[in-house]
């Protein structure tokens, strides 16, 4: 049974920067964007997915008709309930690690297409610490220090 977990407060076209996917530490991933503040300027916001075991993006031109149906839930994070993909990922995860309780198959349709996550939970962060998307190793390399 589908369930809407969260929705963007305004139109996606009104964002300063549209959602982009990033991997974070500790098996987290996120969709990060910049919202426009009423008084001008931007505010970093993100949906952070915890214990993410699977992520996928399908460009809107490559979506099947069933997935396009999520157009009526544009910019809304939807829990799809029990799906074949969720069962597969949960089973594979359980073979190699202690079972992770409460995995969910979540999808959100933004303008570019459909983002999918199999994860334990999510959190909407506003403001979002944008430094999180620049992992420490990359920062060290950029700073000129040896990675190891």
């Amino acid at each position: 049974m589908e369930r809407v977990l969260w929705k963007l407060s305004g139109p996606a076209s009104g964002l300063l920067r549209e959602p982009r996917f990033y991997l974070l530490q500790q098996r987290r991933s996120c969709l990060w964007w910049v919202a426009e503040k009423d008084e001008g300027g931007g505010r970093h916001e993100a949906l952070v997915f915890k214990e993410a075991r699977f992520y996928r993006f399908t460009h809107f031109l490559s979506l099947d008709y069933a997935s396009q149906a999520f157009g009526d839930k544009f910019c809304q994070l939807v829990d799809l309930g029990q799906t074949a993909l969720l069962e597969e990922i949960a089973a594979n995860s359980a073979r190699n690690r202690p079972p992770l309780e409460g995995l969910k198959h979540m999808v959100i349709f933004f303008d570019d297409g459909l983002f999918e996550f199999v994860c334990q939970d999510f959190e909407f962060q506003s403001p979002f610490d944008v430094n999180e998307i620049e992992e420490p190793l990359r920062r060290r390399i950029l700073a000129g220090s040896k990675p190891l």
Binding site: G14, L16, G41, F60, F74, C75, D112
Partner: protein, 228 residues
């Protein structure tokens, strides 16, 4: 005698025997109720001086010249345009709006499918990493051909709803005549129909779309687009 009661914020408009804001050489006032530029070239000359200005900040307004051309201006519409902080930028896009109306080979008025657009192109699209302004600059200097900037649209209720709003804005900004646009009618295509529906619903619009679109990122915030 001018039947328009005028606006207290604009004393000239209160005068009963003046028209076109008392500047009949540069302005026209066919309805007697409001005035606009007599020649879009004036706006074009403003735009020419602004080639280097990026569209990161600004807005586009199609409504102004459309209503001038059609004689359907509401009171204050065109006057408001020239009170905006981003007047020149608005004028730039108005030139394009005129082209959309007069040169459309499809004889379908093109309208935007959303009220706002971020300046950056989609990260998964053909112009990822570009802004509307940077793409317009590349079109102008020949780095990118206008024909490679596809503008897909879907026809509903007699309006051509633009699906690639930023691409259209870049072409407008680059002063590319619509006859040179790579317009593609995607009416009936499920993916593009869905995209248009998403845009319209997400912005609270009907199939009439919008003649106005604001590029987000103004230093003065969301009120930058408010013409009403």
């Amino acid at each position: 005698m001018d039947t328009h009661e005028g606006r207290s914020s604009d004393p000239i408009s209160l005068h009963k025997y003046l028209y076109a804001g008392d500047e009949p050489v540069d302005r026209v006032d066919p309805s007697g109720k409001d005035f606009g530029l007599a020649d879009a070239a004036i706006a074009g000359s403003i735009a020419t001086t602004l080639d280097t200005i990026d569209l990161n900040v600004g807005m586009s307004i199609m409504q102004g010249l459309m209503c001038q051309q059609q004689g359907t201006c509401k009171n204050g519409t065109t006057g408001a345009l020239f009170n905006l902080a981003f007047t020149a930028l608005a004028a730039t896009v108005l030139i394009g709006a005129l082209a959309v109306l007069s040169n459309s080979s499809k004889e379908v008025p093109l309208v935007f499918s959303q009220l706002t657009a971020s300046p950056e192109f989609d990260s998964a699209g053909d112009f990822a990493g570009e802004t509307i302004g940077s793409l317009a600059a590349k079109i102008r200097n020949g780095t990118i051909s206008p024909s490679s900037v596809t503008v897909n649209y879907v026809v509903r209720d007699g309006s051509g709803l633009i699906a690639n709003n930023r691409s259209a804005l870049a072409l407008l900004r680059a002063d590319v005549p619509q006859s040179e646009w790579n317009l593609v009618d995607m009416t009936g295509n499920a993916a593009w129909e869905t995209r248009i529906t998403n845009h319209l619903n997400n912005n609270g619009l009907t199939n009439e779309g919008s003649e106005i679109i604001r590029i987000t990122g103004s230093e003065v915030g969301k009120n930058a687009s408010n013409l009403e």
